[in-house]
Amino acid sequence: MKEFMLFIISEDNNIEKASAEEMQQHIRKVGDYIKKNVKEGRFLGAQPLEKNGVRVSGSKGNTFDGPFIETKEIILGYYHILAKDMEEAVEIAKADPRFEEEKWSIVIRPVLKVEGIN
């Protein structure tokens, strides 16, 4: 089993335009999907991320921290999952019920494992 990070990406418009009923439906469907995967051990973690953040950058001993400003696309949260390979990870991502709604994207990045180290 390999580890993957799935980043849930949405455009801000999505959420603002959704109706109360649509949001409720989403909570139920996607919530059930996440719960099921957690229960079956496929998800190691799944958390929402706050909109505000800080970006720390620097080099040669100097660091600056400034506000973290997302543009049109926002990372709303992540799933940390176990899957056999990228193909299975993609299947798991595609099963997310959010794709039945307005535009969503999930970016899948395998966790880098180095032979003999991690």
Partner: protein, 430 residues
């Protein structure tokens, strides 16, 4: 779906919509009617936060409480931050001298009784006479019923921009006329309640006159109208409730027949054709109970009383033929004093024909034909056709049906009429 998630489903049924209605009401009390848009924004933000978090972490044990806490905290922040910028409801300003005082005072506002009171105030505000009637309905749907602009546009078969304009104008009126957030004084209450009931009935009819399919949104309009009427019935501030009970009864009795109105192919079925076993017995009983309550409450008769009584006659009849047409006829006679529109005249003619025969029905139609609004009304001709069919005069019936088809505007109705025409044509040949 597991039993657990089914339960959660039921608990959540319209949770966001209804809780947002309560929250907007309370926050409008706190911020003042001129800051209605701020109240709406705060509630919208809280729901979005719930949406983002509950998806990942699950629904909290007390979801309404969660929403209230989050909304309250946002309100506290706004009030403390903008204490000097905006003008808030005077009574609130008195209490919020320190930041902690603000939070404690707010706790007080979110009690169940206050929420009930504020919702009642909210509906009087939304239905303020200075706001045009269709804007009243839009504002009620947005603030009290938690509908989004998109949903309202869909319900009214128009676009979002139109609805948004109505809402903006309504809020402007509230601001310009410095409307205060309160239940009207007793000398004004009756008149203001009249407007509220008219708006609720307008809302109900929007949902009831579904021209296309079992569109969920339109059924929900009827449900919301009933919910709002119930809310008024249950509040102590409204003492003279006869009319409210009548309206509530009318809506429940009409809604009971909802699912029988169409067949599997989506064609409209007339009252004569409907499968009465499908009529919702619980709603019928509730409607009849509320009709009873009108008798004990007051002696004044309104349009709603008469319409409810007519609907009750239909709902309690085992079949179209065994309906108490005599009572219905006399009820329509009374209704004419309030409303002599084409539909009422035609429905009365049908009742008349049931009591005195189709010939009498036809002569009655000749009498009312003089009204211009009737002469070009497709239902006039379809009713006329129905009488001729009962007299086995199929060629005259066919003529009428052709006129009706020409004048009809709804596709689903045209289909129905064309089918009837076909049946007639077959009988002429035979």
């Amino acid at each position: 779906m597991t039993a657990e998630s089914e339960n959660i489903n039921r608990l959540l049924d319209h949770l966001f919509r209804h809780e947002s209605g309560k929250l907007v009401s309370v926050l409008t009390r706190i911020f003042g009617a001129e800051n209605l848009d701020l109240a709406e924004d705060v509630v919208q933000d809280s729901i979005i936060e719930a949406f983002k978090q509950w998806t990942f972490t699950g629904i909290p044990e007390n979801p309404a409480g969660w929403l209230y806490t989050v909304s309250k905290n946002k309100a506290v922040n706004i009030l403390n931050r903008e204490k000097h910028k905006r003008k808030y409801a005077d009574e609130f300003a008195r209490y919020s001298e320190t930041d902690t005082a603000t939070e404690q005072t707010l706790d007080h506002y979110f009690s169940e009784q206050h929420i009930a009171d504020d919702q009642l105030r909210m509906i009087f505000i939304c239905c303020h006479p200075s706001i045009p009637p269709d804007s009243q309905v839009a504002l009620t749907l947005k603030t009290l019923c938690g509908f989004s602009i998109r949903e309202i546009a869909k319900a009214f078969l128009t676009n979002e921009e139109t609805i948004n304009k109505k809402l903006v104008r309504a809020r402007q009126k509230l601001r310009q006329n410095k409307i205060t957030f309160e239940v009207p004084e007793s000398n004004n209450l009756e008149k203001r309640l009249d407007t509220v009931l008219k708006t609720i009935y307008l809302l109900f009819n929007e949902g009831y006159s579904a021209s296309t399919g079992k569109d969920l949104i339109r059924v929900e309009l009827c449900e919301e109208a009933i919910r709002l009427a119930k809310m008024i019935c249950e509040h102590d501030a409204i003492q003279d409730r006869s009319e409210v009970y009548a309206l509530l009864s009318l809506m429940q009795l009409n809604t009971s027949r909802f699912s029988a109105r169409q067949n599997d192919e989506g064609h409209i079925l007339t009252m004569a054709e409907q499968d009465r076993s499908v009529w919702n017995k619980e709603l019928i009983q509730a409607g009849l109970n509320n009709l009873e309550r009108t008798i004990h409450n007051n002696n004044r008769v309104s349009v709603y009383h008469i319409l409810a009584a007519i609907s009750a006659c239909h709902c309690t009849a085992l079949s179209f033929e065994t309906t108490d047409w005599k009572s219905i006829l006399s009820l329509y006679d009374s209704l004419l004093q309030f409303d002599n529109s084409p539909v009422v005249l035609l429905n009365r003619a049908v009742a008349l024909s049931k009591v005195y025969g189709a010939e009498k029905g036809i002569s009655e139609l000749e009498l009312i034909k003089v009204t211009p609004s009737i002469r070009y009304y497709h239902l006039f001709y379809s009713t006329q056709a129905q009488f001729y069919i009962e007299l086995n005069n199929f060629s005259k019936a066919a003529d009428c049906l052709e006129k009706a088809i020409q004048l009809s505007t709804l596709p689903s109705e045209k289909i129905l009429l064309k089918e009837r025409l076909k049946t007639c044509a077959e009988k002429i040949v035979a």
